[in-house]
């Protein structure tokens, strides 16, 4: 099994987001592997251990993303690839990320590509499906169970409150949903070994990509924090009056009915 995992470096979930000058401030912030990508890495390692093969983790970003790749190697991935766009591109969007990844993966003969369901920063959930489309392979999102038998794949996916069972075949791209597995913590010997594992660094030139080909198609108009949550309102009076008022408010104020 030739397995690839798409990994994104994201803000630590415990970080306080500070917006200043229309941008999210990164100074002094801690970064982690996108938590959904951890499920993807864990699944890839388990599948490799069961079926043999190799796990390669891939990320697009700057030099700093090497840390997250080393963590993935410490968890048990075999190789890592950093597609460094720091010098070439100011920004990336779902289109440009998927395009760059497809140029990297097109001749790699991947049997299985795993990604997180969404990244906790942008939260678009688009890069995986767009990449599968560019590569012309099947894809299934929000996967909570993955069974591979030969080239046949049986999948359970989360469909918001229920689950759907699907059958498909390799080569395949899946995006991991919470519940797929319990990601391991990098072990101490794993961290030692990770130092010696190959980490390849590529730039757009190495993939024969012209900067114009990956010009972003999404324009960010504004970045702002969600408004402070206002205090709730407690209705008073006898029960039937409260119900009447509630219906009234849902209709006139909240405008949901």
């Amino acid at each position: 099994m030739n397995i690839f995992v798409l990994v994104k470096r994201t803000f630590d979930t415990e970080e306080k987001i500070v917006v200043s000058g229309g941008k999210i401030q990164e100074d002094g912030a801690e970064f982690i592997i996108n938590p959904y990508d951890e499920y993807a890495i864990e699944e890839a390692i388990q599948k490799r251990d069961a079926l043999g093969g190799k796990v390669t983790v891939v990320t697009i970003g700057g030099e700093d993303a090497e840390k997250q790749l080393r963590t993935a190697l410490a968890m048990g991935a075999d190789e890592a690839v950093l597609i460094n766009t720091e010098d070439d591109l100011d920004e990336l969007d779902q289109y440009s990320s998927a395009y760059i990844l497809s140029e990297y993966l097109k001749d790699k003969e991947a049997d299985l590509i795993l990604a997180g369901n969404v990244a906790i920063d942008g939260g678009s959930g688009q890069v995986g499906p767009r990449l599968a489309d560019l590569l012309g392979i099947n894809y299934v999102t929000t996967v909570t169970s993955l069974e591979i038998d030969g080239t046949n794949v049986k999948i359970v996916r989360d469909i918001e409150g229920d689950s759907e069972v699907l059958e498909t075949s390799l080569p395949l791209l899946v995006t991991a949903q919470q519940g797929l597995n319990e990601p391991r913590y990098p072990s101490l010997p794993g961290i030692m070994k990770a130092k010696k594992k190959p980490l390849e660094e590529l730039e757009l030139d190495d993939l024969d990509i012209d900067e114009d080909d990956v010009e972003v198609k999404v324009e960010t108009v504004e970045i702002y924090l969600p408004p402070q949550k206002a205090a709730g309102r407690v209705l008073e009076g006898d029960l039937s009056a409260q119900v009447k008022e509630l219906v009234n408010l849902l209709h006139s104020e909240a405008k949901v009915i």
């Binding site: 840390k67 410490a74 913590y185 990098p186 072990s187 101490l188 010997p189 794993g190 030692m192």
Partner: protein, 391 residues
């Protein structure tokens, strides 16, 4: 002078901290109550490689230096000290002897299993009549053909109930005092080796201390660890180097208590404002923070000295003593800041308060540490003073 840890070490420290805070600590209360560490926690602890902390990479461990070990010990101090002790006793006195003094054959036989946690190590020195006065050992080992026959008993042996391999000190030549003691590696399945009852303790629950008995216990000669007659001398070095690790564990527990106290002081309101706004609480926290930074600096300096191969007998005793005193005063202040809640079992503070007390007693009491420090001061003076000054 560079006080930063290497990036690899930072990664290890962070991984262990996440594991301790998110996986182990939520069960710390249960471990204390049941006096038992759940099997799945032990399994995950093995998987993450904590049991191989002192074992070189070539035998399957992590093989990090003392600074590295202390930075990990600091993190495992952030939870149930019973859990901390199970790992600390194994990775410290339980394995270091074999790593430092074992023959190649002994290392190959035991270390890979000890690194994975499949073989748990324990260290058996203390006897009912030989506590602080460790040379008064009564357990004997008599050579008979290609075996030694051990007779006697030990008590308060940490990890005894779960250990597979014991490093046992026994008298091989009673005429030579401290230099007539030999270390043996005793397998739990050795004929005549009996594990006795487990003590009920005030703290460190989840870690078991038990009696062990040797009744004509047979140990093959190839299980002598190090040189015959040098067992006690070697044990002293192992114990001395390990003291920096104890200080690091106490540092972690102190840090955890401090974090809980800062949080509580900001959340708990009395007299219409958070208690943090009371100057006395601020002063308690300032004192705690100062103690912690002092302990941190000193602990890592002693660890660094161990890594340089320097003699740390005096400094390690100081670190052990300082660590236990600071931990105890911080535990006391943490209870005080938390008030009634600090005394309740629903909250972790009282557990640390109970756990802290043993640190002034085990692995050399505070009084013994002071004796060691004073003995070294005397030795240093005698080296430099001219004979005329010495009466």
């Amino acid at each position: 002078m560079d006080f930063r840890l290497s990036p690899d070490l930072m990664e290890m420290k962070n991984s262990i901290r996440d594991f301790i805070d998110n996986v182990v600590d939520p069960l710390a209360g249960q471990i204390d109550q049941d006096d038992h560490i759940p099997e799945h926690i032990m399994k995950l602890t093995k998987d993450i490689g904590l049991f191989g902390l002192s074992i070189p990479e070539e035998y399957g461990g992590t093989g990090i230096d003392m600074v590295g070990k202390c930075s990990i010990y600091e993190e495992i101090g952030r939870t149930s000290n019973g859990y901390t002790t199970v790992i600390g006793a194994h990775t410290g006195i339980g394995t270091v002897g074999i790593v430092d003094m074992g023959t190649e054959e002994q290392k190959r036989r035991y270390l890979p299993g000890m690194a994975s946690g499949d073989i748990i190590g324990a260290f058996a020195l203390t006897e009912p009549s030989a506590g602080s006065n460790a040379v008064a050992l009564k357990t004997t080992a008599v050579r008979k053909g290609d075996k030694y026959i051990l007779n006697g008993s030990k008590h308060y042996i940490t990890n005894a109930s779960i250990a597979d391999l014991f490093t046992v000190m026994a008298v091989t030549d009673s005429s030579k005092g401290a230099k007539g003691i030999t270390s043996f590696l005793v397998d739990k399945s050795a004929p005549g080796f009996i594990i006795g009852k487990t003590e009920e303790k005030m703290g460190l629950r989840g870690s078991h201390s038990s009696e062990i008995f040797f009744e004509d216990c047979e140990v093959p000669i190839e299980n002598v660890l190090g040189v015959e007659g040098l067992g006690y001398v070697n044990a002293l070095t192992i114990l001395a180097n390990g003291r920096a690790g104890l200080a690091a564990r106490n540092l972690g527990s102190s840090q955890k208590l401090f974090e809980l106290s800062v949080k509580y002081a900001h959340e708990r309101e009395q007299f219409g404002k958070p208690i943090f706004e009371q100057q006395i609480i601020q002063h308690y926290l300032a004192e705690m923070a100062m103690d912690i930074e002092t302990l941190r600096s000193f602990t890592y300096r002693v660890a660094w000295m161990v890594d340089q191969g320097m003699n740390v007998i005096k400094e390690a005793a100081m670190a052990k003593l300082l660590g236990s005193e600071i931990y105890n005063r911080i535990a006391d202040k943490a209870v005080q800041i938390h008030g009634g809640l600090g005394y309740m079992k629903d909250f972790p503070i009282e557990r640390y308060y109970r756990d802290a007390r043993i640190t002034k007693i085990y692995e050399g009491t505070s009084e013994i540490q002071k004796n060691i420090i004073a003995a070294q001061i005397h030795k240093e003076y005698m080296k430099t003073a001219s004979p005329a000054h010495i009466k």
